[in-house]
């Protein structure tokens, strides 16, 4: 499965990782996305829109290690099932200083717009998991996305 991150997603995770309370954010993403199949990722995801069998736009609760899902994160992403591609669009914590309820409909519209833009322009960076360091790295230059 090919995983792509939008600039907004990368910026949001970097912001979260600056806060000690969210230092497990990258680990939570790895556990939920990088070590699971597309089918496994879909389990427990709510479909916001898109075609259920081809390209669902999804929201999923993901949890940091050793914590309940309620104190975890909400991940917004798009899966292109035929292509076996996944686009991570946005993440926010459920609790804490940067936490809160689910994002607004307006924001969700924006995410769909972002997805359309990055898909059409091929601007999204492909990433993969460096299994030795347990870090997400860019495919193109092997640099860590969240150093």
């Amino acid at each position: 499965m090919k995983v792509y991150l939008t600039d907004e997603f990368i910026a949001e995770v970097k912001n979260l990782l600056r806060n000690k309370a969210y230092s497990d954010c990258e680990e939570a993403i790895i556990l939920e996305i990088f070590v699971k199949s597309s089918q496994e990722i879909r389990v427990g995801s709510k479909r916001l829109g898109g075609s259920p069998n081809d390209s669902p736009f999804l929201r999923k609760r993901i949890k940091p290690v050793g914590k309940g899902k309620s104190s975890g994160y909400r991940l917004y992403f798009w899966i292109l099932i035929q292509e076996n591609d996944i686009y991570l669009l946005y993440i926010h914590p459920k609790t804490g200083r940067r936490g809160g309820g689910n994002i607004t409909s307006q924001k969700q519209r924006e995410l769909v717009g972002t997805f359309k833009e990055v898909r059409d322009t091929d601007l999204c960076g492909e990433v993969k998991l460096n299994e030795t360091s347990d870090k997400i790295i860019y495919l193109v230059n092997k640099a860590e996305v969240f150093p």
């Binding site: 479909r47 829109g49 259920p52 736009f57 309940g68 309620s70 409909s105 969700q108």
Partner: protein
């Protein structure tokens, strides 16, 4: 004779005393066992209820993989949401009483935490499903962008 009476008396006293102690001990053990059994039973009931919340949460998640294709289906979803909100309110009250009756006595804290977490997740799901079906998917702009993909 006196010696015998004394011995018998001592023996009787010994038995009664011992028996009394034994009975008390058994009785306390029994009480303790009953108490522990009731705690275990309560913990099992809480965990069982938590499993029901998780099952409901999963069913609400499954709902989103479908589209409401007519008013009847929308009505069904609305009905389920209304019932689930009432159900959630009912169990929030249960949670309050669990906190009062058990949590404060340091009993079943792990089970109660899991109960509350699953109940919160269920609440999340109920409102998410409502938002997805009756706000997001009814939003013209959202649908316009979706259709342009």
């Amino acid at each position: 004779m006196n010696s015998t009476i004394s011995n018998i008396g001592s023996e009787i006293t010994g038995i009664i005393t011992h028996d009394k102690k034994t009975l008390q001990k058994i009785s306390e053990e029994e009480r303790m066992n009953e108490f522990l059994d009731s705690i275990l039973l309560k913990k099992r009931q809480i965990s069982k209820q938590t499993a029901v919340f998780k099952k409901l949460d999963s069913l609400f998640t499954d709902l989103t993989w479908y589209d409401a294709s007519n008013e009847e289906e929308e009505g069904l979803i609305k009905d389920v949401i209304t019932k689930a909100k009432k159900y959630h309110s009912k169990f929030i009250r249960s949670y309050a009483s669990l906190r009062k009756e058990l949590w404060q006595k340091n009993i079943g804290r792990e089970e109660i935490s899991e109960f509350k977490e699953a109940l919160d997740d269920l609440e999340d799901s109920i409102y998410e499903v409502e938002e997805i079906f009756f706000t997001l998917r009814k939003d013209d702009e959202f649908n316009k962008i979706m259709n342009s993909l």
